[in-house]
Symmetry: C2
């Protein structure tokens, strides 16, 4: 059965932690480009994408559902009706590849969790969507492990840096510039961003495009 890939997305004023280095319009374009990369990866891996947007939004050939509920509530409402496999995938994981997603949806466990940096959850794969309920507030990785345990669901943690890297802050852009091959990396380069070595660390610099 083709897994449904639910991708929560905020079209308006997204990625506010990047507002020091990108205008609101640039952030909206950048978030949309990351969404395109994520949709491309889940589709290539054989999933059917469904964008769960906070405001009306259109993506060619992709179903969009609009909701004003908070993230966990919106996802849990949707999960309740899903007896088949569901992948929940954050929209800001633009290094996602077909191979990395395939590894996630090939997991044998009832629940596969992909950790994100800093205790977050970047993706959850459920053999049966209705078996689980998410809780994204705070230290969500540990919460999701606990929820699986409480529901007697077997759990696998997926080891992938391509899915671990989420883009929230300026320093996260380095790895997208270095490892990214999709639309969001190209857009970032077109904005004039490039990696720069400073005092032994690598950061980003933005030149006029």
């Amino acid at each position: 059965m083709t897994p449904l890939a639910v991708i929560p997305f905020r079209p308006l004023n997204p990625k506010s932690r990047l507002s020091g280095i990108m205008t609101r319009e640039e952030r909206e374009l950048f978030a949309a480009a990351m969404l395109t990369d994520v949709i491309g990866a889940v589709t290539a891996a054989g999933c059917t994408p469904l964008v769960l947007a906070t405001t009306p939004y259109t993506v060619a050939s992709v179903r969009v559902r609009v909701t004003d509920a908070d993230l966990s509530t919106a996802l849990n409402t949707l999960l309740r009706d899903q007896d088949g496999p569901v992948l929940i995938m954050m929209a800001d994981i633009p290094l996602a590849t077909k191979e990395a997603i395939t590894a996630v949806i090939s997991a044998d466990a009832d629940v596969a969790i992909v950790p994100g940096r800093g205790g977050g959850t970047n993706a959850i794969y459920l053999q049966q969507g209705s078996s689980f309920a998410t809780d994204y507030y705070g230290q969500s990785f540990m919460k999701h492990c606990r929820i699986a345990e409480e529901r007697n669901l077997s759990l696998e943690v997926i080891d992938s840096f391509r899915l671990y890297v989420d883009i929230d802050e300026e320093e996260d852009l380095v790895d997208l510039l270095i490892h990214g091959t999709g639309e969001s990396a190209a857009l970032l380069r077109s904005f004039g961003f490039q990696p720069i070595s400073m005092k032994g660390r690598v950061s980003v610099i933005r030149s006029s495009p």
Copy 2:
């Protein structure tokens, strides 16, 4: 043939970016605990560890070579004599597991590179040690890819967050506390560190042990 696992290590005054939250003595204990975790993982995966230390150091049952050359020079001097397989593994990757290392040393390519956060290189696996020369200064991941290309060596990039996470700064400790099961995570907890949720992000807090 058993791969040699070369682990560069700085016993004295290591991890200076953690000096705001740990004393020098604590940093030395912590670096040693991370080294123990890395040695455990490479040994479990079937490698023979060799610690390349900047000052004299002793680890039970592990060969130690002392060098005062810079990192790349020290490694390249050693590589020159290695016709067999060599894994070069940084000492501050305490989430390393037998499974993650096994995936690296099972790569078919001449060179397998494990990226670290921010354009770094956390591990390199060489089918033939003498075929390669390292260059760790600055954006080393891209440099190492280029070196492989220049030498006509086939290249594989390994996708593992357990090997991508290196511990340099305070915010890196969160993932060690959440995903770590070895000596360094236990030491960190004994120091009183624990993850804490603040303003939607997860950070660390240190209470008196």
